[in-house]
Symmetry: C2
Subunit: 198 residues, 2 copies
DNA sequence: TGCAAAGCGGAACAGCGTTCCGTATCGTAT
DNA sequence: ATACGATACGGAACGCTGTTCCGCTTTGCA
């Protein structure tokens, strides 16, 4: 799982100048549109905002998921890298896990429709799901294992299910103002705690 | 029999014979298609299976949500009615809540895509979401209150959030075989438990 | 400057939910 | 039995998606 699947072969400078420029324009436009219209924004809207045609869009990002991944790759990587750091600095592994999960929820909740898109079936977003899982499950596993080793939580749950559950809980936070995923995520983690030893 | 003055009052038998027949055919076809293709099955597929045109479909069910509600109304009502019964027969309110939630999860998990459709935004499924909430939140509130009164759980969470969280956790159970929502739901409820008093 | 090769734009295709209206059927009054 | 108005039907058509395809333009090198 070293390399997932970048849109094009070499990422750096193996293309024509205008091609690279358009790709960047597209990324910027997508980032802007995602904020206002969510990640489900029509491809045409993004292409229009970038001032390019549909052909250009699809050449750079064969599937919508590739675009979303490209837009958020940096933030996902940052989130992944925060795991070990929190583990090193946190008072306890469980506290580190709590904070890391909080970061993750923050990320999901601020990206309209991202959580939903990640779990959506057959919408061509499978690659997005896979990317998140590949990148974050190992980190989550590390945090979970440490907390288990410290005797803070039960070993019942694997990282995949935890990530998946958190992601699911974050669905719809943007469309329904009265729904707040955070308390539920807290509860989920609380349910994981090992009953205090006697 | 006993229906001789149609122009008045009743909602049921005031239509033409073929209309009622087609409505039932549509319901049967939908129920069958939902099992195989999920609740997101194309309207055309359902209409074709029922052997009727699209116009007929939309006259009977102005929106897709109306169809889904009509198909599952009975089961939702059954679920709602099970609440008080479980509360009366269960050893403790929390046990009743657990069982009731289990029934609810069973229901959601066996209907492909139902959980996802319920939370889907702007897909015309809002009415579906509203129906579930209207029907089940009161029951859940009753169970929750009883458990709180019995000192079994913390009063942190309102029924809407719990229902919503459970519904969200059930999303994607059908499309991903390795994902199982049940343990997560159990964990969520476990997180609700009041720490044992001294 | 010339000229492949690489890239671009947008028309076109397929599939969706939904609307609309000419036509067929039903129920009844004659 | 027939005629006729109300009711319901079927499916073409519209608008919106994602995606593909191909004639034309731009680029970068000789």
């Amino acid at each position: 799982m070293t390399e997932s699947s970048p849109p094009r072969g070499g990422s750096a400078a193996s293309k024509r100048k205008d091609a690279r420029r358009n790709q960047q324009t597209l990324l910027d436009a997508a980032a802007a549109v995602f904020v206002t219209s969510g990640v489900d924004a029509p491809v045409r809207e993004i292409a229009a905002k970038a001032g390019v045609g549909l052909g250009t869009f699809y050449r750079h990002f064969p599937t919508r998921a590739d675009l979303v991944i490209a837009v958020y790759r940096h933030q996902v990587d940052t989130c992944a890298e925060a795991g070990p750091a929190l583990l090193a600095n946190g008072p306890t592994p469980f506290a580190a896990l709590e904070r890391w999960v909080d970061h993750f929820v923050d990320f999901l909740v601020t990206k309209h429709g991202l959580a939903a898109a990640m779990q959506a079936d057959g919408s061509g977003f499978d690659a997005l799901h896979a990317y998140f899982i590949d990148r974050l499950v190992p980190v989550c596993t590390q945090l979970l294992d440490a907390a288990v080793a410290a005797g803070e939580i039960r070993p019942d749950l694997d990282a995949y299910h935890l990530m998946r559950g958190i992601g699911n809980l974050c669905i719809g936070t943007d469309s329904d103002p009265r729904y707040d995923a955070r308390p539920l995520v807290v509860l989920l983690l609380a349910g994981l705690r090992r009953p205090h030893r006697t």
